[in-house]
């Protein structure tokens, strides 16, 4: 036997990247589970050689798919992750992002990559993930027994195209390299084949390039390998090889579809990891500082023990409805109360109407939902009409207008008209109409101390200009209520010199 001859040395033999025995296999641990003549065996071998050549065995993480190559982890002595059908690129994305020094290989078949996992491969490619994808295209579903693949050739008979693939019924073979070549981000896209000795050697070079690009941090690389499936095709291995070479390549032309290996720049982002102690500052959890940089440490509060303010603020989007609620909740917290704030959310928030529920209570709050408000701030008429019926008798309603609609006047709740938008306009911006209402509410009820409001403004308003405007709006709202109390019959805000 030749191997016994001392003068002979091994030049091509079992790669050290393969496990010596396939212990993860249930039986026949000396050989793969692939059928005789299967292309997967050849691709796996070429992959092993590329890993070995590049010296990246320890760094490599193989993502095994669902399909005939589901057992990739049984063979390659690298880090291994077996994943759900088609999701390899998503898994690979996350692994690579968190472990940028690893070399992540997503090994996928045509069902996995081009059917069930189409979204994952397109988006991983489009994000330019720095991973290497090996796409084994044999135009058939092998593991499940020969059903149509997205890459099945026109006219090809499968168990689900028993009369042959008809484009009018089944569509056309999906050309993955061509598809991905429409994207900006991929660095390397190449279609190779296992149809001849020469093609096999070219496949080895392409796989090496795909890994090498990742070693250099160059971004997304994919190698599509046209591969024989003698068993399902019903051909002997040599005939299957011929079919790849002479038939498959007519539908799937070989060649490079993208090669920016020479010009691409490493994409690795600079990551700075802050000290743990920095986290509260980064997350804004420390004491807040407003426009003047001062801390807003809460002063000793003396909440009213019976306080139970159930407030609805409503109007249209852009009136500062949610922010008004937030001011109240924030001030309530500063004053030592239990508070909650619950907004309306979603499409209705964007289509015009907007409301929020605020509770300010001396005791822990059961539900943040205010089904029976004792305070309603209605910033327009639809809001008034919508929430008035739910008011608790004797509750307070502040309404953004000069006067109350006649048919609402007898509702049982005391409706106070405060022309907050008009007042805010005169102050310089309709946007502070919400704060005018806030001032009016505090003047009318005294529910929260001035100091609490100061702190709320301080915390929520971070720009100098708005801070001053909001303070003016607060005072204007208070003044409006004072005038009404003084002359409840006919409020005429326009005559107020302060407003002029």
């Amino acid at each position: 036997m030749a191997s016994d001859t001392p003068a002979m040395a091994v030049v091509h033999g079992r790669s050290p990247i393969f496990y010596r025995r396939f212990d993860r296999k249930d039986d026949d641990q000396h050989q793969t589970h692939y059928c005789p003549g299967c292309g997967h065996g050849i691709v796996t071998k070429l992959l092993a050689e590329a890993i070995d050549t590049l010296g990246i065995q320890d760094r490599t993480i193989l993502v095994s798919p669902v399909g005939c190559s589901v057992f990739g982890y049984e063979y390659l002595d690298v880090g291994n992750i077996q994943v759900a059908h088609g999701r390899g690129p998503a898994v690979a994305t996350a692994v690579k992002r968190s472990r940028p020094d690893s070399i992540v290989v997503s090994y996928q078949g045509d069902g996995d990559l081009a059917a069930i996992g189409t979204a994952e491969i397109v988006h991983a490619a489009n994000r330019g993930e720095t991973v290497s994808v090996i796409f084994v295209n044999n135009a058939i579903y092998g593991m499940t027994g020969g059903q149509m693949a997205p890459t099945t050739l026109l006219g090809e008979k499968t168990t689900t195209t028993p009369r042959g693939r008809d484009p009018a019924v089944h569509g056309y073979p999906l050309k993955v390299c061509e598809l991905l070549a429409t994207l900006e981000a991929p660095v390397f896209l190449e279609r190779v084949a296992l149809g001849s000795n020469k093609q096999i050697m070219a496949t080895g070079r392409a796989l090496r390039r795909a890994l090498e690009n990742q070693v250099h941090g160059l971004g997304f690389s994919l190698v599509e390998v046209l591969s024989p499936c003698p068993t399902i095709w019903g051909l002997d291995p040599a005939e299957a090889q011929t079919f790849v070479r002479e038939t498959m390549t007519r539908t799937f032309p070989l060649g490079n579809f993208r090669d920016r290996s020479a010009s691409a720049v490493p994409q690795r982002l600079a990551v700075t990891v802050p000290d743990l102690g920095e986290l509260p500052r980064i997350l804004g959890l420390g004491p807040a500082s407003g426009v003047d940089g001062a801390s807003d440490t809460v002063a000793p509060a003396s909440p009213v023990p019976t306080a139970d303010h159930r407030i609805v603020v409503a109007g249209f989007g852009g009136q500062g409805v949610l922010l008004l609620g937030e001011f109240l909740a924030e001030a309530g917290l500063s004053a030592g109360y239990h508070v909650s704030w619950l907004p309306s959310y979603g499409p209705q928030m964007r289509s015009g109407t907007s409301n929020c529920h605020v509770r300010i209570s001396a005791v822990p709050i059961d539900s943040p939902v205010v089904s029976r408000p004792n305070v309603l701030i209605a910033l327009n008429e639809p809001a008034l009409r919508k929430f008035l019926p739910s008011m608790e008798p004797g509750g307070l309603v502040l309404y953004n207008a000069d006067s109350v609609p006649v048919d609402c006047a007898g509702s049982g709740a005391g409706i106070t008209p405060i022309a907050s938008t008009a007042i805010a306009d005169r102050l310089g911006s309709a946007k502070v109409g919400n704060v005018v209402m806030l001032g009016a509410l505090l003047e009318a009820t005294g529910m929260l101390p001035d100091s609490a409001l100061e702190r709320a403004l301080h915390r929520l308003v971070t720009r100098e200009r708005w801070y001053e405007l909001d303070r003016a709006a607060l005072q204007a709202g208070r003044a409006a209520v004072r005038r009404m109390t003084a002359a409840p019959a006919e409020p005429s805000l326009a005559q107020d010199p302060a407003m002029g």
Partner: protein, 362 residues
């Protein structure tokens, strides 16, 4: 740290980062969208990974990848997105990967609505994916508890090598309440089983496939043993005035808070009511409920669904006591008044045993 007013969906991200989470993958959906936005803002600031995934399917599989790589990782969504993720839930449990998923429930089925609901209970607590697995499920009732339970979720996920779901209704994510955040915890080192692309982890395999029946059965039995251990060690619940209660109300999340107000009002009206609020939905506080059945005449389960939680309560009570159910759906949160009405009706009509109503139930 000093209490601050904060929205649930913002607080959950901050809590996760304080707990050592350093990867987030997500897809926006109302009413959970602020979570993905906050994650996009903060993850890069702490040296973590943020990916806006192309779908919830991709997001949950990215979670699988991040967890495989030994990183504390999370995602969040709401009903429709959580449904898409079910494949991933099953794989994560099967591969024994620790991770945290937040479900801010909205109304279903189908596109349903975006208002708060608790209709995902079956899907999350009973397992919406295939195979014999369980999620550990935590149900916060306030923004503070959302923070506390999110941080606990990462610990439990690591301890049991299993997905942990923080299950809240949309209102918990959308509301603002005062929260005291704890100090940040150190980011734990990657566990020994993780696949990190190093010589030390080269022999590691993350997988959920076991084709040999005996091997798969052994794997499933091992998972089951973990769940039994969780059932022994992890049930959490809160009770309120159950010691002398004739009627015990059971509800989780935001409903639990409404029920507390119901208990107070009922007692003022002379009804001896109490509350049991499950905090872990799986493992369920079965023993606590069973123990109450010895002294309580009626259970009333209130939930924002048409009757999901009630099944677990009935299993716990084992037919020994009547278990009534009251639900609101579609985005409606039950009010104190309507629950109280139901409780009073239950006493008058539903109670199998005549109930003593004392003039002062306090």
């Amino acid at each position: 740290m000093e209490p601050q007013l904060i929205k649930g969906n913002e607080a959950v991200v901050k809590a996760a980062l304080l707990a050592g989470c350093r990867a987030y993958y997500g897809y926006p959906i109302t009413p959970a969208s602020e979570i993905v936005e906050m994650a996009a803002l903060y993850l890069p600031e702490v040296g973590g990974v943020f990916v806006q995934a192309e779908s919830e399917v991709a997001a949950i599989n990215m979670l699988y990848g991040g967890a495989s790589a030994g990183v504390r990782a999370m995602t969040a969504s709401s009903g429709p997105g959580i449904s898409l993720m079910q494949e991933g839930f099953s794989y994560l449990a099967g591969a024994e990967l620790p991770c945290v998923i937040v479900d801010m429930m909205r109304g279903g089925p189908g596109l349903g609505g975006i208002g708060p609901e608790q209709g995902d209970y079956f899907q999350i607590v009973k397992g919406g994916g295939h195979g014999c697995y369980r999620n550990l499920v935590l149900a916060p009732a306030s923004v503070q508890e959302l923070v506390d339970l999110t941080m606990l979720a990462f610990e439990l996920a690591d301890r049991y090598r299993n997905p942990v779901v923080v299950l809240a209704d949309g209102s918990v994510g959308q509301m603002m309440e005062p929260v005291s955040f704890p100090e940040p915890r150190p980011v734990p080192a990657a566990p020994a089983w993780a696949v990190t692309g190093t010589a030390a982890t080269r022999q590691n395999l993350v997988s959920s496939i076991h084709l040999e029946p005996d091997v798969l059965e052994g794997h499933i039995r091992a998972l089951e043993a973990k769940y039994r251990e969780a059932e022994r060690s992890e049930p959490r619940w809160e009770t309120w005035r159950v010691e002398d209660a004739d009627i015990v109300l059971v509800g989780y999340g935001i409903v639990g808070r409404v029920l507390r107000a119901v208990v107070e009002t009922a007692r003022r009206r002379g009804i001896r009511a109490g509350l049991l609020r499950p905090i872990t939905l799986y493992p369920f506080p079965t023993r606590a409920i069973r123990a109450l059945a010895d002294s309580v005449r009626d259970f009333v389960v209130v939930e924002m669904s048409t009757g999901q939680l009630v099944e677990d309560v009935r299993l716990a009570v084992e037919g020994s006591r009547p278990v009534e159910t009251y639900g609101r759906v579609g985005g409606n949160i039950p009010t104190v008044e309507e629950v109280l009405q139901f409780v009073e009706r239950t006493i008058l009509v539903g109670a199998r045993v005549p109930l003593e109503v004392s003039p002062n139930g306090q």
